[in-house]
Amino acid sequence: MESQKNFYFLYRSQGKHAFVYNVPLVLEISGPIDCEVLSKSLRFLVERHEVLRTIFYETSEGLIQEVIEKHSG
């Protein structure tokens, strides 16, 4: 949780420049792409990894991170 707290703080401290903490993955793809399959693959990964379904918000208790259950979106 400590490193999530750090990043939350840094993110909030940047205000409208918070995109500086975006981590991009840029892939050049050659050949035909089946977009339906690509889209399905992404959804599969998000269902597989809890961290990709985790949201962060503040309450009076402090910073909360919550994993959104599969298929609930």
């Binding site: 949780m1 400590e2 490193s3 999530q4 990043f7 939350y8 840094l10 993110y11 409208k16 918070a18 995109f19 903490y21 975006n22 981590v23 991009p24 993955l25 840029v26 892939l27 050049e28 793809i29 050659s30 792409i33 089946d34 977009c35 399959v37 690509l38 889209s39 399905k40 693959s41 992404l42 959804r43 599969f44 990964l45 998000v46 269902e47 597989r48 990894h49 809890e50 961290v51 990709l52 379904r53 985790t54 949201i55 962060f56 918000y57 994993v67 959104i68 979106g73």
Partner: protein, 156 residues
């Protein structure tokens, strides 16, 4: 709302880079899904650029490697109409956080810290010669200078 959305945009070659940079520099709200964004740019010249953006709070360099590998694996299996089979995840995200958190309370943690304290004890600071003394307050303003190191110097 889906937990991740693949958006697709057909774009001209001109201004393609700007569009990609713009996509990367969008703020991602942390309090609602999806935190992971994906966009496929199909450029007129035939190039296809897939941009996946996540806030640092949920990813790092190590994770990107996993995401990339699993995405390829998953895609190729789904493409062949197979259901994607992946290695089991042995530990949940929260279990992992717990483990990391308790690590700093364990004896081993302090003996590890002590190891480095002893190891680095009395170490000589590197006094690197410079032509201008740095300000006490960092300004982060700077320029880039590119130069080549000669082969014989490099070999040393």
């Amino acid at each position: 709302m889906a937990n991740v959305d693949l958006r697709i945009e057909d774009i001209e070659e001109e201004g393609a880079q700007e569009k990609i940079v713009l996509e990367i520099n969008q703020i991602i709200p942390l309090d609602k899904l999806p935190l992971i964004r994906a966009k496929l740019f199909r450029i007129k010249n035939g190039e296809q650029i897939l941009v996946i953006v996540q806030p640092h709070i949920i990813t790092d360099g190590w994770s990107l490697k996993i995401i990339r590998e699993e995405l390829f694996k998953c895609y190729s299996m789904l493409f062949r109409k197979q259901s994607p089979r992946m290695t089991n995840i042995k530990i949940s995200y929260f279990e992992y956080i717990d483990k990391m958190g308790s690590l700093t309370k364990k004896k081993k943690y302090f003996s590890d810290i002590n190891y480095w304290k002893n190891k680095l004890d009395g170490i000589q600071k590197l006094h690197f010669p410079y032509d201008y003394a740095r300000n006490n307050v960092e300004t982060f303003s700077g320029r880039r200078q590119t130069f080549l190191i000669k082969q014989d110097l490099f070999k040393k």
